[in-house]
């Protein structure tokens, strides 16, 4: 687990990104940091669990495929149980009824196509969060 960035300000929001690809993690870290988030990244389930014991997350982006297809869904479900107010987005290879059902039943707020550029995903998330977000630094620019 790497703590990759921190923002100035008294109460920075904390984001978690769980993805097996370091390049993707780095791109999300950059996009989220630009928007004022402290970003924690994890490549696997054990590291994710460790991160969950050490931080309170406001936002999480999880790949549906960590070490095998679909194993990201229960990770999202556990994040929802531990952090009920956390916005959880899942990166999935497609959108189907089964995937939508997995999203609903694991407390996921939104599904994003896995090949969408991280800055686009972050902008989409912030657009969803804006009505309830008290922090102007999170506005989509």
């Amino acid at each position: 687990m790497l703590k990759m960035a921190a923002t100035t300000g008294t109460q920075p929001k904390i984001a978690l990104v769980v993805h097996p690809d370091v390049g993707v993690l780095s791109a999300f870290q950059s996009a989220l940091t630009q928007k004022g988030f402290v970003t924690i990244v994890a490549r696997d389930v054990p590291t994710t669990l460790l991160a969950m014991t050490q931080h309170y997350f406001d936002l999480a982006v999880v790949s549906s495929h960590l070490s095998e297809p679909g194993d990201g869904w229960p990770v999202a479900g556990v994040l929802h149980l531990a952090f009920p107010r956390c916005f959880i987005g899942v990166l999935a290879p497609e959108t189907s009824v089964l995937i939508l059902q997995a999203a609903i039943n694991n407390g996921v707020r939104e599904i994003y196509q896995q090949h969408t550029a991280p800055p686009e995903v972050v902008s989409a998330i912030l657009a969803e969060l804006l009505p309830s977000s008290p922090q102007d630094s999170h506005k989509v620019q």
């Binding site: 009824v97 609903i104 939104e110």
Partner: protein, 134 residues
Amino acid sequence: MMSRKPSILIVDDEVNVARTLQLVFEHEGYEAMTAHSCAEALPLLSNSHVFDIVMTDLNMEKEEIGLEVARKAMDLRPRPVVVICTGFASMFNSQAALKMHVDYLATKPADLKELTAALNRLVMLRAESSQEDA
């Protein structure tokens, strides 16, 4: 811990399905009420009944009208656990359910053990978070 029996409203136009689910949830310790259409369910949600769970079918007197029941239930305070139980899950209605932030989507024929376990868990979580908010 809840001091009273948890309550559930089951909305399904198939009387046998609604009755079966009612028996299942009564066996689980719930106070279970049924309605067989959106038109029958909406007044129950508008009056003084407080439900811990509202579970609705989607296609009843009109296609997808269960989304109206779900929407109405989502607006209630305290908000019940909102569940859609349908034999006709589609991209349209599943997307709508996700956007609405319903708590659970079950497809028929539902695995009753899985369904009751999931709903028991959701009710307990809701009760805990209500206590924390109070």
